[in-house]
Symmetry: C2
Subunit: 280 residues, 2 copies
């Protein structure tokens, strides 16, 4: 019996979008992930882009709304979308908020009960799922990572905490400084406890201050994004940390764009081409 079970397979731009169910040991639950395999994957192993999604999302949102398959097919790039939190459990309050618990794993390893029974999304997206997909799909081992909002935060911390692992990292409207915004304070406080020192290893600004980065950062942010205006995202704090640590950071404020997938779709091609060039 295979350790992954096909949920659906849909032809898309000559390649295949497939969804699989599997038992996650790390998360202690069943999970679904999505993979887009470009036409080139039928000929030879291909590089992989990880996409981490934002609050309330599943593996499906990006694949349905970002319009990424067209250019991924052209570039011969596979894309994996993990889900955004453990599923199927029913911890106290787990389903009460859009910004904590189900759909809001924040890509950290929780230390606080009861969350530490399941909420270890960092280990899931950096260890368990990479091993699983490399065992099952024609991937050539080269990886890049990107994401949106909570998933942009996830992409940044995964890259910063694993030097040499990813050839490139980018993010759309990431939560750059979770230790200093309401979303992050709620999530990190809940999953990691009240000692804010312990939050630093999950905050891209703090990671850059502590260790710098050899990897340049590419960040797009819409200036009409209400979460940006409300101080949830703080890209200026990231740019300042990069400046201080001499980390190359391209922060593009995109005039008129909001926080939606229409913003992502408008610029995803540029990110895909950026990653594809580094993945060569």
């Amino acid at each position: 019996m295979s350790d992954i079970e096909l949920v659906s397979a849909t032809k898309s731009f000559g390649g295949w979008l497939k969804r699989y169910k599997h038992r996650s040991t790390v998360l202690n639950c069943d999970m679904i992930f999505a993979i887009y395999l470009p036409p080139a994957a039928e000929e030879h192993p291909v590089p992989l882009l990880w996409w981490l999604s934002g609050l309330t999302c599943t593996d499906e949102n990006f694949m349905q709304k970002a319009g990424a398959q067209r250019t991924a097919a052209e570039l011969g790039l596979a894309i994996v979308c993990p889900d955004t939190s453990p599923r199927g459990s029913d911890l106290p309050g787990e389903h009460d908020s859009y910004d904590f618990g189900s759909g809001a794993g924040f890509y950290v390893n929780a230390t606080q009960a009861p969350w530490n029974q399941h909420y270890r999304m960092y280990d899931y997206v950096t260890s368990e799922l990479p091993a699983l997909v490399s065992a099952h799909f024609p991937l050539n081992g080269k990886q890049a990572i990107s994401g949106h909002s909570m998933g942009g935060h996830g992409a940044l911390i995964c890259a910063l905490k694993n030097p040499g692992r990813y050839t490139s990292v980018s993010a759309f409207a990431p939560i750059c400084n979770p230790g200093q915004c309401p979303w992050g304070e709620k999530a990190l406080g809940g999953y990691l406890g009240d000692n804010r020192e312990l939050w630093h290893e999950w905050d891209s600004c703090e990671l850059i201050k502590a260790q710098g980065s050899d990897l340049p950062l590419l960040v797009d942010q819409g200036d009409a994004d209400n979460f940006y205006v409300d101080g949830q995202l703080r890209p200026e704090a990231l740019a300042a940390a990069c400046e201080e640590a001499s980390v190359p950071c391209t922060l593009r404020l995109q005039p008129g764009y909001d926080h939606s997938y229409f913003f992502i779709a408008s610029f995803i091609d540029e990110h895909l081409r950026y990653h594809a060039e580094k993945l060569q």
Copy 2:
């Protein structure tokens, strides 16, 4: 007070996706429609593509999932997506089926009570809404039409019943012969009554047999589409009617593709370029 009320405005590929609410006299209810205005619309009037969606859809599905804005922006093409049925009423059984009543207007003018109080989607998409959008947006009067499934049927009958109105017509997996498939028999019987002769003016195959067409037809159909396999779509009947009537029909069976928006997204650029060329 304006006769349309802005619901949302989202920047997309340099242009704007806007949703508006308005009172429909024809449908006797409030309706929402979506319009994508490409960047060129800020400089001069632009041509318009009508997109008619399928069963269960609203004005939102195509705009979120088809990935059409990128090429529409490049080509300077506006797109209007009407909703697929009247909304806000509560007729007996109206919300019980996915393939009849709400979300399933079938782009006909109902003659049977109680449906004839509201279900006049043909007049809505060919008269009332065109007058409204031409009054409010920078459109140059040139129009094309396309759609998916029930909306592919809608696009075909709108074009066939209005020679000279549209410069071009295309469809994805259209219900080509509603008088001869379960979906169509249920819908046409319910909205128009049991006299099948009266269904002919709403069936693209019958319209072509009766009157031919100067307009060539472009139809894409996935060969792994379960509704095609089940006989709901019948593109071969359309091709045969066109052959008999010497109407140019390009029917492309796309191997491996299903009925989803991933299929539409895979080929929408070709349809947009096809329409843009005719709209020049």
